[in-house]
Symmetry: C2
Subunit: 313 residues, 2 copies
């Protein structure tokens, strides 16, 4: 199928066409350029929700329960489950089917596992393009779910309109919230497994820490919510909070700013990759190689070599 | 002082001039270009030795003992102690003085702590330029010491001619050696605290793992050495092994290859930063900003925008 036909099929509701487009993204296909050009006019409608948290807090369960809640509201929902620790991508079919659970036969839901490790730029490279596919295919909400390890949660927050940070009692409570950066990235904090002992301590500690954090004037005041995702308790409140946050983003103009910032990162990442390719692959016979050998020999310095490489403005 | 005067003073043996040049590197000074051009003709002589290992294996002690050993051999030695977890740089003077110990009054030794976190490109950006300063200033051996956390040890190995991986008994022996990548990056494995119980187990486990690792034909066969760095035991053997490895690098042409590869990484990192600056800072009014807004609005796609940004070849 040609890119325009694929995009038309995806927009017409074909899950196979959507899956094929995301595979093109993951495989860094030469067709991607044409695909992205076809998708562009149809993008900008989906709400992008990031869900992150430490292993064991119930991310998959909460994602699934949120999908159920959004389906009640007649939204079409796409889910990208990004595993930043896995070098495998795309074909995690069995996992996807298990994750889909109740949603397996629902044409209004599309779920896909993606890996990011080892790929050019990781999360920052493939995920925004996969989001673009789901956005253009007409999904009302796109959920990006990732485990909070290393930098991945910060990257997710950069991609999402609204970021949910999940916590749960009994997981080294204070520590998980105090983790570098987690207070800054959360728009909504969800204490899951709220029926368990210690849940109110988690909320209280979190409230304390959030009250100490400095925020710009007029900034969003993060909300703390409680869920028992296993049986769907509290997910209606989560969906309502996402609505409130989205309304705030739209009113303040922050939505447009976030989206422009995202596009800037994406364009820059692609442009830098293009420059790398233009300069010559590592080990290749490109201009970079020649200049680097002159630097190694002391005949040039790295700045002069970089000047030559990038040429005049 | 002008860059050419500073470089002349550093080459004349002034530790203050060397310190000033490294401060320019850390501060990303606008003078750096001129400095690097002045340094270039004098580089390429120093041997670069990386020392890495988990916290507690005795990296500082071993570095200090190796410095003593190399001084016996009439070498001038520069040490860069890189702390990838610290956001502070340069001014860790007290720490440097404590570290210098016996070497504090020795004009043939220069020791400097550097931080890398938060800086553009981290280790990969400042460290090679600091090495270049010490190389041009006439140090025979430059030691880069860093704690093995995250990616830092892999980055160190990429910068060094010879990489020493330090281990010690009683630190979760098998695990430390099996840590992702540590077997691949070590040219020499040094079991420190060899007088303690368990040291021979560490050596044996290591030997077993190294024998299982696949190596290219003609590749260097990593050596396993034992030290008690506290009293200098075994450092003569370590210095001799560094000599053997260096001779092997020179004979096989691998030395030139490693240095060209390093120069390539350095030139590319600088060139990519220059492109970022040219395209406009984040939040600025550059061309990137304009193109990103068109992408966010669905009027363009990221690839077309990137094409415009980088312009014709």
């Amino acid at each position: 199928m040609r890119p325009d036909e694929l995009v038309a099929a995806a927009r017409g509701g074909s899950p196979r066409a959507v899956a094929r487009l995301i595979s093109l993204v993951e495989g860094d296909s030469p067709l991607l350029r044409d695909v992205m050009a076809e998708l562009a006019p149809h993008t900008g409608h989906a709400r992008i929700v990031g869900i992150t948290g430490s292993p064991g807090v119930g991310k998959s369960t909460t994602t699934s329960a949120l999908v159920t809640e959004l389906r009640k509201r007649d939204q079409r929902v796409g889910v990208l489950a990004v595993d930043p620790s896995s070098p495998f991508s795309g074909g995690a079919l069995l996992g996807d089917r298990i994750r889909m659970g109740d949603h397996a036969t629902d044409a209004g839901v599309f779920i896909r596992s993606m890996a990011s490790r080892g790929h050019l730029g990781g999360l920052a490279w493939t995920t925004p393009q996969a989001v673009r596919v789901l956005d253009a295919a007409g999904f009302d909400t796109v959920i990006i779910e990732t485990v909070g390890v290393g930098q991945s949660e910060v990257e997710i927050a950069a991609l999402a309109d609204t970021t949910l940070v999940l916590l749960a009692p009994g997981m080294g409570d204070g520590i998980q919230a105090a983790k570098a950066g987690i207070l800054e990235i959360g728009d909504l904090f969800v204490v899951n497994k709220a029926d368990r002992e210690g849940a109110s301590n988690v909320s209280r500690d979190l409230r304390g820490m959030l009250s100490l954090a400095e925020r710009r004037e007029g900034a969003w005041q993060p909300e703390i919510l409680k869920t028992v995702s296993q049986d769907g308790t509290g997910l209606d409140e989560v969906a309502a909070a996402i609505d409130r946050h989205h309304a705030w983003l739209a009113e303040t103009g922050e939505l447009g700013e976030r989206r422009a910032r995202r596009a800037r990162e994406e364009v820059q990442a692609i442009a830098l990759e293009m420059m790398r390719a233009r300069w010559g692959d590592v080990g290749g016979a490109g201009e970079l190689e020649t200049l680097a050998r002159a630097v190694a020999a002391g005949e040039s310095d790295p700045y002069t070599a970089a000047d030559r490489l990038i040429g005049p403005q």
